[in-house]
C-alpha cells in the first residue's frame, strides 16, 4: 500500500508536527517501505491471541502516600521558555 502525501500531511497534523513539503515527500516514501515490511504480520492468525502491553506481570502498583521533599520549583521554572513569577507563561488558550 502507499500512504501518499495527503495521508502523511494528516498524520503530521495529528502529531502536531510542522513538516516542509520536502519532508512530506521523503517521509511518505520511507513510511511506505516500512509499512510494506510490516505487512508480514497480516499473515499470522492472531484471532485467539491476547495482546501484550507490557512484559511485566505487575498491576495496580501502589505506594504509601507520604509527604517528601519535592523537586526545587526554581530549577523547573528555570527551564521554561517564558515565565511570569512562579508560573510558566503560555499563549492565550481560550479565545
Amino acid at each position: 500500500m502507499s500512504l501518499g502525501a495527503e495521508a502523511v500531511r494528516k498524520v503530521a497534523r495529528l502529531a502536531r508536527l510542522k513538516l516542509s513539503d520536502a519532508e512530506l515527500t521523503r517521509f511518505a516514501g520511507q513510511m511506505d517501505r516500512v509499512l510494506e515490511h510490516m505487512a508480514d504480520l497480516a499473515a499470522l492468525d492472531t484471532e485467539k491471541v491476547q495482546p501484550t502491553a507490557h512484559a511485566l506481570g505487575l498491576t495496580n502498583v501502589l505506594r504509601p502516600d507520604v509527604p517528601a521533599p519535592e523537586t526545587d520549583r526554581e530549577r523547573i521554572l528555570a527551564n521554561a521558555p517564558e515565565r511570569e513569577g512562579p508560573y510558566v507563561k503560555v499563549p492565550k488558550v481560550i479565545e
Partner: protein
Amino acid sequence: MSALTELSARALADGVRKGEFTARAVADAHLARVAAVDPKVQAFLKVLGAEAMAAAEAVDAKRAAGKPLGSLAGVPVALKDNICLTGAQTSCASRILEGYAAPYDATVTERLKAADAVILGKTNMDEFAMGSSTENSAYFPTRNPWDLERVPGGSSGGSAAAVAAGMAPLALGSDTGGSIRQPGALCGIVGLKPTYGAVSRYGLVAFASSLDQIGPLARSADDAALALSVIGGHDPKDSTSLPGPARDYLAESAGDLKGLRLGLPREYLESGLEPDMRRALDASLDALKARGAVVRDVGMPHTRYALSVYYIIAPSEASSNLSRFDGVRFGPRKTGPGGSLLELYEESRGAGFGPEVKRRIMLGAYALSSGYYDAYYLKAQKVRTLIKADFDAAFGEVDLLVTPTTPGPAFRFGEKTDDPLQMYLSDVFTLPCNLAGVGGVSVPAGLSASGLPLGVQFMARSGEDHLLVRAARAVEEAGLFKGAPAL
C-alpha cells in the same frame, strides 16, 4: 593511556578505598584522557570537569574523615544524555531540549552518587535514543574508537565509545531495542540490558515505556555486574520497578558453567550472518562447551516478526511519550504567524525534532490512528504475545539463549542513513529481548578480518541477569577477544 585509565572499575574503587591512589588522581587521569582523545571520538556532549573534580575531592575527604566508602568509590562514570543529573544538561541529543538542565537526579544517578561514583559527563546518543549509529544526534556523530571512519553503534554510542576509548571505566546507557548491546558489540565492550523492571527508570527520558531499560557498559562482565548491583533494586518512584532489594550480581554470578544449558535459536542464524560473525559465534560456543555448558538448537518461530512488531510498538509509545515536548514548559519555543497555541506546538516540534524522531512519531501516530489501530498496534501487541511465548518455551528447555549481537561489525558513516529499514535491520538480533522483557548482554567474542570487534549475545529468563554475567565472563576467560583501539 595512563595506568589509571586502564584499570577496571573494581580495581579503581579498591585502590581508592585502600588509599593506593586518590579519587582526585583517578578523575584527573580520566579527564586528561578525555582531553586527549575525545576531540577525535566525540563521545561526550558535555564534560563536567569541575563537577567531577569536586566530587572526587569529596570522596577523598570522606576517606580522610574515616568514613566508609561505597562500592564505586572514585570511579568515573559517563551518563547517557537521556539520564537526569541535577543542574546538568539532559538534551537527549535533541534540539528540542537544548539548554534543558535537569531539575532532579534520576534514581540511577542518585544511587551512583550514593556509591561514591564520580559523574564525568553526559554522552552523545541518537536523538531520543532512536537509532543504531549515533548519527541521529542533533549535535555531531560519535566515532568508533576502533576505526574513526565507522559508527560506534547506537543509540548509546557515546557511552560505548567513552568506555572503549578509556575515557571512563563505566557508563550507563539505555536499551529499548538493543541500544546498549549493539554499541557494546561494535565498540568491543560489555553492554548489559537488565531484565525489564530490574533498574528504575525514574529520571530516564521515556522513549518506549514498555521496552526501555537502563543498564551498564563496561570493559568487563565483572564491572558491568558491579554497576548493576549499584543501580538495581526496587524504586518506589517507578511503578514498573520489580519488587525486591538490590542484588549482588558479582556474588550471584560466581560459579562455572557445568551443566548450564545453552540454546542456539535456529531462526537467528537463517538470515545473512557475515562469515566473521559466524566464526566468532562458533568459537564462543566451543569455549562454552569446553567449560561444561551444553549447547542445543531451539526453535523460536516468531523471531522473524520481531522487527515489524518492534517498529509498530516502539514508535506508537514514542508518539505518545514525546507529546510532552511541545515548547510550553521547556526547550526552545517557536510561534507561528497567527500566534495560536496549535502553531506553537507545530512550529516548536517541527523545528525541535530531527528527521528520525519525526519519522517515528509519524509512524506511531499512524499506527494508533482511527481505522489503523487494529491492523497495526493491536496486531503488533498480539504478535508480541507470540514472541514472548517463544521465549517462555525456549526457557523451558534451556537456561540461556546465545546469538550473535549484530549481523556484522561496525558500518561506515552514511552507509545506512538513506534507508531507515536497513538501519532498523542492524538491531534484528537485539529487538526480541526487549519485547519479551528478559535481560540480555553482549560480550566481545573476536575481531573481524578488518580488525573490528564482534559481540555475542546471551539472554536469560527474567530475573536471572546473574547468569548473563556468568556466561559473559566465561567468554572473556576464553580470550577470544584481545587488544584495544589505537588512538
